[in-house]
Symmetry: C2
Subunit: 236 residues, 2 copies
């Protein structure tokens, strides 16, 4: 679950809820939110059920009481050496997903201005840091929630790999090469006495295209049509 | 670089710029932004140099003319099978980082309402999809930019691994075990005739704590102090 500690901006509360929907997180809790902000976020057009069902608490201790793992997020990398600090990466993601199998996990985000305090940290098992540019470490709250939830999700492999498209067979590429070479000869592109070099040039060019089978078919059709036209023109 | 195509909301333009600063992206381009939105975003308090230097273009073709790789983002996973679709993962991140070594890479984001169009896609070498929950695929623009830029960054390993903290030596844990066991005996916790079982119980408990050297020292001090007090009490 996501726990927002002292959030001030209704847009950020809404954005956190939206990111949770995007990445399949279910429960939103707020600790001492700015009352006006929470009300506005809840009544906003399109506010999700997740936002309407968000629970409010008066302290971090109460908000995380039923959680077996509490992780605090921080932009700073060495504020508090009393806590183990992990980066947002596959290892921390895997640690959290493992913990989720046996209990509830709370991911704490501090207020927009100051983040989580050292007192908040004492409720955390460990801290999580998003690796950002060293001169711009402070993220927008809604964006930080989105990045964390994405970063903690399992990596998803490509379903349709670009490599899976069927590549053109060499024989097909050779047909294009021959057709194009012939067309270039008729067009006067190939200089007399230099035939062999130019044929190789065309073949290498075609190979560099990394043609897919479908595209090779289309290209061969184009080349043959041009070749036919060039030959017709030569006859007249 | 990030290219926002027809963005409508000044907050999203600002959020995109902020995420770019967080993740070290440098150049922001906009294609036909809603003029009022672009003006507002630029004049917002705290608008970054990156935002002030953002370039405006009248078409996607012009915006990506100097790029050697153009990647379009899409929430939909099978709208356009004419384009290779990759997921935001280590492989796509690595492909983009490789391309960045030899040329400019444009990452295109469509408008808040409809995203990128099929016409926009024709300018893209491939499409990138953020793996989201199947029922909530549509992300906020600013959050999508943040998640993409994070997802395309190289994974960062933990600098201070929680495992690197020095673990307590077995001898230290045994001292705690013995002290605590003694204290429990004096306290009447250990039942007569059941000594061996209880000592094992205490030792296993201490081992499950996975104590760090520093914590073991503190705990031993606590136990010894209690033991001293219990013995004193027994003398009186």
């Amino acid at each position: 679950m996501v726990v927002l500690v002292r959030p001030r901006n209704p847009l950020n509360i809404g954005a956190a809820a939206r990111a949770m929907s995007n990445f399949g997180a279910r429960q939103l809790r707020l600790v001492n939110p700015y009352a006006v902000a929470f009300r506005e976020a809840r009544s906003a057009v399109g506010a999700s059920g997740l936002l309407k069902n968000a629970q409010e608490f008066n302290s971090v201790a109460e908000a995380v009481a039923d959680c077996s793992l509490v992780v605090g997020t921080t932009a700073v990398r060495n504020r508090d050496l009393q806590h183990p600090l992990r980066r947002l990466n596959d290892q921390s993601g895997s640690a959290i997903r493992t913990a989720l199998k046996s209990g509830r996990v709370a991911l704490l985000f501090g207020s927009e201005k100051i983040g989580l305090t050292n007192e908040d940290f004492t409720h955390c098992h460990w801290l999580l840091n998003i690796p950002t540019h060293e001169h711009h470490i402070s993220m927008n709250l809604g964006q930080a929630v989105a990045v964390c939830l994405f970063g903690l999700s399992p990596r998803v492999a490509d379903e349709v790999s670009p490599q899976e498209a069927e590549p053109a067979a060499s024989g097909e590429i050779e047909k294009i090469t021959q057709g194009l070479y012939e067309a270039l000869k008729i067009s006067g592109y190939v200089k007399p006495g230099n035939d062999a070099v130019s044929e190789k040039k065309v073949r290498r060019l075609m190979l560099r295209f990394n043609l897919q089978a479908m595209d090779a078919k289309v290209l061969l059709g184009m080349v043959r049509q041009m070749l036919w036209k060039l030959r017709q023109a030569g006859k007249n």
